[in-house]
């Protein structure tokens, strides 16, 4: 079963002469275990597509399915619930809650998703941080962490609730190439070892190198959808 699917999903902004078709009748299926990149020039509609899939936004026309469930008719509460349960987000600017420590940020994701891991929320959060190499920095506030470290916390936060899909919009754009590579390799590892499904958007060739499927977007439409046999860096 597809984890999520867009069917002729459109997202229009404005109207009349200012109408922008940020997503224009997109058809797209993401399967379990993919490591896929949306690529395209700035303004092509990558973020728009990710927002539709991630239930952060709703299509003006067409349908979005998540875990086989059509979402068009869901109310805000149900959408929020489904999003919390099924989808983890990694953001370009990390978006950690500044007043919470690393481990509290990760706990927050667990609490909001309603997950009740064996051994408790604190232990699961600590383990998730240890898995991204931050086992020693549990109690640092975001301001006390480097960008790369913050993004690792964000990875732990997205993954701790074991979502069906992790969406990452330009996750390396605010990182230097060394931290970016580190974070990417981490995600690739999680994908290969645990089967976590990732969907990115990026301009970054480094990300595309590691992708197994690259979807090219232009003017809100899919221009090309290619599968890459080799699995990038080993």
């Amino acid at each position: 079963m597809a984890i999520c699917e867009l069917r002729k999903a459109s997202r229009h902004y404005g109207h009349g002469p200012t109408l922008v078709k940020a997503a224009d009748e997109l058809d797209l299926v993401i399967e379990q275990g993919e490591f896929t990149v949306l690529s395209g020039p700035s303004g092509s509609g990558k973020t728009t597509a990710l927002n539709l899939i991630g239930l952060l936004d709703q299509p003006t026309e067409g349908a979005v399915f998540v875990q086989g469930q059509q979402t068009n008719l869901l109310g805000d509460r149900a959408l929020t619930h489904l999003r919390a349960e099924a989808i983890g987000f990694i953001f370009q600017s990390f978006n950690l809650v500044p007043v919470l420590s690393a481990v509290e940020n990760v706990e927050l994701a667990l609490t909001l998703s309603g997950a009740t891991p064996d051994g408790g929320v604190r232990q699961a959060a600590s383990e998730a941080l240890a898995a991204v190499g931050l086992g020693e920095l549990l109690h640092r506030r975001p301001t006390e962490l480097s960008g790369g470290q913050q993004q690792r916390v964000a990875v732990a936060r997205a993954l701790v609730k074991k979502p069906a899909l992790v969406i990452a919009d330009e996750p390396t754009a605010n990182l230097d190439s060394k931290s970016g590579t580190g974070v990417l390799d981490l995600m690739r590892e999680l994908n290969e070892n645990l089967g976590v499904t990732f969907l990115f958007s990026t301009h970054d060739p480094m990300v595309m190198e590691r992708a197994r499927r690259v979807i090219h977007i232009k003017d809100g439409r899919i221009a090309r959808d290619e599968c890459i046999a080799s699995s990038g860096t080993a």
């Binding site: 239930l55 952060l56 509460r77 619930h81 987000f89 953001f91 370009q92 919470l100 509290e104 909001l112």
Partner: protein, 406 residues
């Protein structure tokens, strides 16, 4: 709960801005507490002064006695029968007969109208003299004790002579000359400004009262029983009516009520200012944290959660501001409820206008935990109410704001 934790910590992100927004809450709560403490203290002060220096708990006055103006009850003086005396002994905690007259006091070429009190031997049991300060001696038979203002205006000292010219009970004119035994200062302008004291029998002779009196002042166990007791008292002393301390001081307290209302209005106005300040602050916080709210929403926080988070932030400001206001207001009223404020010094030079206002020299503010609790609750309620609108605005921020570039 995690929302609670975030809201509480968020309070410190803009600590200075939030502290400024709380200032009006502090002031509003403070004004309400201090205002009530002052007004209730003043009311109690007037009641005490009235009871302790003018009327006791209940006094009998001649029937048809005027309730306002400068009172000249001499013509209606009434006899105190043995039956009345026995009843008073049996039914009061203390009682004292008095003759009040309004003579002209003359010393040399100066003269002024004064209030002459002829007081019984046990007068002090009804009218305590704790705050009496006498320069010289209390008056013996045929002597007078002169209030500080008349003494100054007439230029008399202990040992000088003072002439009192008065109409007798029968309406004849009489005048007698008395040695001044002492000068009296109490801090109560009603006494200090116009009074002259003498023994009951001295005044009886001056006004030819022949055993009759104009007032009988009483003290009873509980001042709240004054009205019921007054009815019995009037029946027990023929040709009199009873006036309770409430009758005397009631109209004045009602006039004071206006001031208490003013304090409340001031306090509420300050709290209203606080409301706009807090609404503004919380709204600013909501917009500053748009991306953060989007992130929380993307992670699964419901709209209600966002609303609660920001309303809690407002609530916290109310709680903190309210506590500080309660601390300041409570501290002030407590301090002055124990130590008192020296009204004498404050009224210096203005006391002439207060001949008919009973005031004791020391004002004790009322320390009231009830008022403090109410003021605190109002402060918290206002702050919380003020943050509802911005919290609603925050809750409508879309989850997609999480990815919008800032």
């Amino acid at each position: 709960m995690v929302i609670f934790r975030i809201a509480t910590r968020n309070l410190f992100r803009q600590a200075r801005r939030n502290a400024l927004s709380m200032v009006s809450i502090v002031m509003g709560v403070f004004v309400i507490i201090a205002g009530h403490g002052f007004q209730n203290g003043l009311n109690e002060n007037m009641i005490r002064a009235q009871i302790d220096s003018a009327s006791g708990h209940v006094m009998t006055v001649p029937e048809g006695y005027p309730t306002t103006g400068f009172r000249q009850p001499i013509a209606d003086a009434y006899p105190l029968t043995d039956a009345s005396r026995a009843w008073l002994d049996a039914n009061t905690a203390a009682w004292t007969p008095r003759i009040l007259a309004a003579p002209r006091a003359i010393a040399g070429r100066d003269a002024m109208k004064v209030r002459l009190y002829g007081v019984g031997e046990r007068d002090e049991a009804v009218f305590p003299r704790d705050n009496w300060s006498v320069e010289g001696e209390l008056p013996g038979e045929g002597e007078v004790l002169v209030g500080s203002s008349p003494a100054r205006l007439l230029g008399v000292q202990p040992g000088d002579l003072l002439t009192l010219e008065v109409r007798t009970v029968d309406g004849a004119l009489n005048a007698m000359r008395y040695p001044v035994s002492g000068i009296l200062t109490t801090g109560n302008p009603m006494i200090d400004n116009v009074s002259v004291f003498a023994t009951l029998s001295s005044v009886d002779t001056l006004v030819a009262a022949d055993g009759r009196v104009t007032h009988v002042a009483t003290r009873i166990g509980d001042r709240r029983d004054a009205e019921a007791f007054g009815a019995e008292l009037a029946a027990a002393v023929p040709s009199t009516q009873a006036r309770t301390w409430e009758d005397e001081v009631g109209p004045m307290l009602e006039a004071q009520q206006v001031r208490e209302t003013m304090f409340d209005i001031m306090g509420l106005a300050l709290l209203l200012m606080a409301a706009t300040g807090i609404a503004n602050t919380v709204l600013m916080a909501a917009y500053e944290r748009t991306r953060e709210i989007g992130t929380l929403r993307s992670m699964g926080l419901q709209r209600g959660g966002v609303l609660a988070m920001f309303a809690l932030e407002g609530l916290w400001m109310g709680v903190v501001g309210g506590l500080v206001g309660v601390g300041l207001g409570g501290g002030l009223t407590y301090h002055y409820s124990v130590n008192g404020i020296d009204l004498l010094a404050m009224m210096a030079g203005k006391a002439e206008a207060m001949d008919n206002v009973p005031i004791a020299a020391t004002l004790y503010l009322q320390f009231s935990p009830t008022t403090m609790a109410v003021a605190f609750a109002v402060g918290v309620f206002v702050a919380m109410g003020a943050s509802i609108y911005p919290a609603l605005a925050a809750s409508r921020i879309a989850p997609a704001e999480a990815v919008r570039a800032s």
